[in-house]
């Protein structure tokens, strides 16, 4: 086995490790072959980190997997060449490729939780590939795994490996997965959106440890993400993909300061969007001292008080588990509070949903994070938007059709969309239909629960602009639940910061987002990646992490 002496065989930093030329990949779906990758070149040197960014469907994951010589089921690599350290992966047999995977090439998936076997201890899974491929023996691999846990700043590195996947947090699991990938000391790691599912505050820790370990072992990496700010921290070079083609590629600094293509510039645009705040004293909704719990369990909300001014946007920010979404459920009546009250237009709202009148229900509408699950897949767009019209406004026949078309126009879609099914729409269009459904009720208040977080930057911008325009035209009030500070800056007048079920502060955007900060607000703001490649270093310095 030549792999035993692989560390000596490891080349110098700067040698070309991976070279892909004119790679074309087709995917099969809905009875047809589609072109996913239309001729992309990619070169990666040893010890270099390449960021691969683009919106969903751009082909970045497919390209990342192709760099291992792997085509996922339903895909086939048509042509091009993939050379990995002198091995032609296009002509390599399955057995040859399998010998490479898990020993010289490793893959870190987006959802660590789904990638671990829940029935085995973490350390057994960490060393499995290393031992199986004969890179080192079991004892040495276990000792090494503990060292890896240590360098990934996992708590209790000596014992954490004895736990099962469900006994550690999501961020920790993602780091264990990185340890698993690092264990055989691969030449190349592919990170496929490894931090997308994590909170901003956790994301920072994971990014820091990933970057330091990649540097420490001089490993080459491909880092796939849709978040430009994240990739800026990790990558030496960035490649932008769109529709399976390369838009541009440049060294990180240059890409950030001076993008040449319009498309790349548009990836920044949502961060440039900023709404001037407008204070108002006309309160439409007031949440007063609300406590809430699911079942008889611990309180999820404690003494939450929020004031929402009419025709304005109040953003509720905080990490997951802070009670943002629960607050929304209390306002809508899905979760009656234990104590406290909610006043709407000065009159108290009944706590439970069932006791609210249709007119009360009509005034408060909700838009969900996942437009996919928020629309009945068996109903057409016309039925989805038409139902609130029938239900609240007793419309039918041509009157209803006319109003549906009018609503479609308001969300910048045309009447032909009315007889499409949700599966025939793109992500941004689905979210627009959800907005139209909310608008159909003629609401006064719309609760937007993470409405843009599942969308690509450019689509996000479109949705935010639409929401802002609708607010101006119809004087609608928004409660915007989000963890994305860029979105908060773009849309809100006031901000509520929540932490562990309580309100840390509420105030005008300028008060909350500018110094002096409250402690938690500062941590939250700091954790949001900035476009500056040195941002992560400064965070590390501030926190005293080495």
């Amino acid at each position: 086995m030549s792999k035993k002496n692989k560390p000596e065989a490891r080349g110098e930093k700067g040698d070309i490790l991976l070279e892909m030329k004119d790679v074309r990949i087709d995917g099969f779906s809905d009875e047809r072959w589609h072109k996913i990758i239309k001729g992309v070149d990619l070169t990666l040197k040893r010890g270099e980190v390449l960021g691969l960014i683009g919106e969903s469907g751009a082909g970045k994951s497919t390209l990342g997997k192709a760099s291992m010589g792997y085509a996922q089921p339903g895909c086939k690599i048509l042509s091009g060449s993939i050379m990995f350290d002198g091995i032609d992966l296009m002509t390599a047999t399955e057995a040859e490729k399998r010998a490479l995977w898990g020993s010289r090439i490793a893959y870190v998936a987006q959802s660590a939780a789904a990638s671990f076997n829940p029935a085995h201890r973490l350390i057994d899974q960490t060393v499995e590939a290393t031992v199986d491929h004969g890179v080192s023996d079991d004892t040495a691999a276990r000792k090494d795994a503990i060292e890896l846990y240590q360098s990934l700043t996992l708590p209790n590195p000596d014992t954490i490996g004895d736990r099962y996947p469900h006994q550690v947090s999501g961020g920790q699991l993602q780091r264990v997965m990185t340890a698993m990938a690092m264990s055989p000391r691969p030449d190349l790691i592919i990170f496929d959106e490894p931090t997308t599912a994590l909170d901003v505050t956790t994301q920072v820790d994971v990014l820091l440890s990933m970057r330091s370990i990649v540097e420490k072992f001089n490993t080459a990496a491909i880092y796939i993400t849709h978040d430009l700010a994240v990739v800026a921290q990790m990558a030496d070079r960035i490649k932008v993909l769109r529709y399976g083609e390369e838009v541009e590629e440049a060294v990180t600094q240059e890409m950030l300061s001076n993008p040449t293509q319009d498309y790349t510039k548009s990836l920044w645009s949502v961060r440039a969007l900023e709404k001037p705040e407008a204070p108002s004293d006309d309160i439409i909704l007031e949440v007063k001292g609300v406590d809430a719990a699911y079942g008889a369990g611990v309180k999820v909300l404690q003494d939450v008080s929020i004031k929402v001014p009419r025709g304005r946007t109040v953003s509720i920010v905080g990490e997951s588990g802070s009670g943002k979404s629960t607050t929304a459920r209390v306002i809508t009546g899905l979760l009656p509070p234990i104590s406290g009250s909610i006043e709407f237009n000065g009159t108290p709202l009944t706590a439970a949903l069932k006791e609210r009148s249709p007119d009360e229900l009509r005034r408060i509408q909700m838009i969900y994070q996942m437009a996919d699950t928020a629309m009945n897949p068996k109903q057409t767009v016309g039925e989805i938007i038409g139902r609130p019209l029938e239900f609240y406004h007793n419309m039918s026949g041509s009157e209803k059709v006319a109003r549906v078309n009018e609503l479609l126009e308001m969300i910048e879609l045309d009447a032909s969309f009315a007889d499409r099914l949700p599966s025939e729409l793109s992500g941004g269009q689905k979210q627009r239909i959800c907005i139209a459904r909310a608008l159909a009720a003629n609401p006064e208040l719309i609760i937007c629960d993470e409405v843009t977080s599942a969308l690509d930057q450019i689509v996000q911008e479109g949705i935010l602009k639409l929401l802002l325009r609708l607010q101006k035209e119809l004087n609608i009030t928004y409660i915007f639940i989000t963890h994305d500070i860029a979105v908060v800056k773009a849309i809100s007048d006031e901000i509520v910061v929540m932490f562990q079920g309580g309100v840390v502060e509420q105030g005008l955007k300028s008060n909350v987002l500018e110094p002096p900060f409250k402690d938690y607000t500062q941590l939250l703001l700091e954790s949001v990646p900035e476009m500056d490649p040195s941002w992560l270093d400064s965070i590390a310095a501030n926190r005293g992490v080495d």
Binding site: S29, D30, E31, R32, H34, S56, G57, R242, Y243, V247, Q261, D262, Y263, S266, T332, G333, L334, L353, R356, P358, L361, Q365, M366, Y368, M370, T373, A374, M375, N376, P377, K378, Q379, R387, P388, F391, Y392, I411, E412, L413, D414, F417, R420, L421, S423, E424, L425, S426, G427, G428, Q429, R432, R437, A441, I458, V459, E461, G462, L466
Partner: protein, 310 residues
């Protein structure tokens, strides 16, 4: 990069969207990909359905028409040109009884299955939506019914209420609806947690709307597959009850009692093999339809990568 790709418009947003196809077009695509076994099943079911619907026109003689040859128990195959499969012990034409048997046995099984889906399906949906004491009450009730072996229970109830066709249908439908209830409740429970159901509730929709319009269309594939399986079971149960003499009563023709009537001649088969026909023909008819339905269900379940039975 062309110019138009850089300007953003919501309507022009591209993504991996599905082609717009009518239900019929999608069905055609699926049928083209269907395996041979599914095709076999579909054709057999179609033939059965045709025979059952047009029994009156297809059968050469009446259902209970007796011919004078009653003293000759079983006429050999081909021996009597006017009775293709011969006549039974009281001189009724076997072919005609087979054809009428299709109508009776399949018809009653179908009505029973539909009824059991109506009962079990609607209660299952209610239980899935209203996860409260009602769910507990229904689910525990179903557990009690399911803990009693169903054939024995059916026999007992039939001897209490008598073997009329309505009571046969009601008893089997209620006993079978317990299985439908469990399936509906468990698949509906996955749909109830979807945001669109919550959206409908937030809108203030009533139980009926949520059941029929939001949940039911989304749990149809497993239910349709279950319908096929349940139909087979009900069909077999009715045939078995008839075989035991408690099912469909004479002179109504049905396959289960035909097997029973013919079975007493089985011992003479060593003298004349055609004597096996009166019992083997209806038994084969039962078996063939059950197998055919299962082929189709298997294909359908595989296609929708849905749930397995129970």
């Amino acid at each position: 990069m062309s110019e138009q790709e850089n300007t953003y418009s919501a309507a022009g947003e591209v993504s991996q969207v599905l082609v717009k196809r009518s239900r019929w077009e999608r069905a055609k695509i699926e049928l083209r990909k269907a395996p041979l076994s599914a095709w076999f099943g579909i054709i057999v079911i179609a033939v059965y359905a045709f025979v059952a619907i047009f029994a009156q026109f297809l059968s050469p003689y009446g259902e209970a028409q007796v011919f004078s040859k009653a003293d000759l128990p079983w006429s050999s195959l081909g021996g009597e040109p006017e009775h293709f499969f011969g006549t039974d012990q009281i001189g009724r034409d076997v072919l005609s009884r087979l054809i009428y048997g299709a109508q009776n046995t399949i018809g009653i099984a179908l009505v029973t299955t539909l009824l059991s889906f109506f009962i079990g399906g609607s209660l299952g949906l209610v239980a899935a939506i209203n996860r409260s004491w009602l769910d507990q009450f229904l689910s525990r009730g179903v557990d009690v019914l399911m803990s009693i072996p169903s054939l024995i229970f059916a026999l007992m109830l039939l001897s209490i209420f008598g073997s009329s066709i309505p009571s046969l249908i009601m008893i089997i439908a209620i006993l079978d609806s317990t299985r439908v209830f469990r399936l509906t409740r468990s698949v509906a429970a996955n749909v109830v947690v979807m945001d669109y159901v919550e959206a409908a509730r937030l809108r203030g929709e009533g139980l009926g709307w949520v059941m029929r319009r939001e949940i039911l269309p989304n749990i149809m594939p497993p239910l349709v597959a279950e319908f096929g399986l349940r139909f087979s079971f009900v069909f077999l149960t009715i045939a078995a009850l008839s075989f035991l003499g408690l099912g469909i009563q004479p002179p109504t023709a049905d396959w289960g009692s035909m097997v029973r009537d013919g079975s007493r001649f089985i011992q003479f088969v060593k003298f004349d093999w055609t004597l096996a026909l009166p019992s083997l023909l209806p038994a084969g008819a039962v078996a063939l339809l059950t197998v055919a339905v299962n082929f189709v269900v298997d294909w359908f379940l595989h296609k929708t990568s849905g749930l397995r039975d129970e």
